[in-house]
Amino acid sequence: MRRYREMDTDNLPEGLAHDFAVLGRAIAVMPDVLPPADFLAGVMGQLQPKSAPWWRRALIRFSAPSLNLSPLQLVPAGVAAAAVLLACLFWGYGTEPAGTVAGVAVKPGLAKVAFTLNLPQARNVALVGNFNDWSPAGFEMSRDERSGQWTITVPLDSGRHEYAFLVDYERMVPDPGAVIRHADGFGNVNSVLVVDAKHARTT
């Protein structure tokens, strides 16, 4: 049965409030006309595949209210210049035991990689990248109260990883000190990290 919203009838005379409620219920259950059977095909036949930049897809996907994130807004890439990199990467020795770290299943042979961003004025920072499907959940960074630096250490597989910092759930900031950067073709730049877990090296 269809739900309906009650009118705010606090300030209405009783008779009017009653009638408004009756009308609201009646409108709620008004019958709809079904669209023609070929409606969907008519729309789908005229669409071309999209190729939006990764950050746009990530923003739409992970800004749903059920994740308790504020609506996201993009900022010019120039904001990234405000962030100062004090990033250091260190790598683990040997292998990690099975388990879960920051939402990533840890397998033997992963390298521990520490990400650091010096942005004291940020309220919160999360690490997002292709290794976590650009999802901030579980990848929130910790802030050092004295230095204002944000850090997180995650286990990463060997290979090439693209990533960025999600600041205040509002803007994407690339790692200004990343050795490799990759333009996504839409005027934005991703940071790139290459991990060699076998020899415990990163580039």
Binding site: R5, L16, D19, L23, G24, R25, I27, D32, M44, S51
Partner: protein, 179 residues
């Protein structure tokens, strides 16, 4: 389909999965088609305008605000398309202009006993058809589509207080027709 599911689907659409958009079309084809039927009173025009609404929404998906519900944004696109269509057809015997709302502008103070009990569906439809489109669509969005007042405002490109006013006036007019 909740907002989170909707966001996931839209993300897939933006990643190049055209077929995922079919889920969005299926979900909202009925309210958009019915909007166009009310606006044009023509099944053929309603089909064309509804399909154009979904195609335009797809092509302008980069303007959709992340985190918001898709339907108010889609509805707003549809309303604008319908109004453009009516203007071009010079069919704008705009009921909002020729409709005399003043006779429904009564004070809410004082004794005003209840006048409605049961309402026939056909009778309600005829009364809804008499309403100016602005008021009618506000009532449909609020009670039939179950949108919040803020979402009604967004769908109609007006303020929240403007949406409340349209709904209140719409109910008053409807009550006048049916009493």
């Amino acid at each position: 389909m909740d907002v989170r599911e909707e966001s996931r689907i839209l993300s897939e659409v933006l990643a190049g999965d055209v077929q995922a958009y079919g889920l969005i079309v299926r979900r909202y084809q009925e309210p958009i088609y019915n909007l166009m039927l009310r606006m044009t009173s023509s099944a053929e025009d309603a089909r064309d305008l509804s399909q154009e609404t979904f195609i335009r929404a797809y092509n302008n998906l980069d303007q959709f605000r992340p985190g918001a519900r898709f339907f108010p944004w889609l509805y707003s696109l549809g309303m604008n398309l319908a109004l453009d269509f009516l203007r071009k057809r010079k069919r704008t015997t705009d009921r909002t202009l020729e409709f005399d709302e003043s006779r429904f502008e009564q004070s809410d103070d004082g004794d005003d006993p209840a006048q409605l009990s049961g309402i026939e569906a056909e009778e309600l439809k005829r009364a809804m058809d008499k309403l100016p489109a602005d008021n009618r669509e506000a009532l449909i969005l609020r009670f039939h589509e179950d949108l919040s007042m803020q979402e009604v405002a967004q769908a109609l490109d007006i303020s929240v207080s403007g949406a409340k006013m349209r709904i209140h006036r719409g109910l008053r007019m409807l009550r006048g027709f049916l009493s």
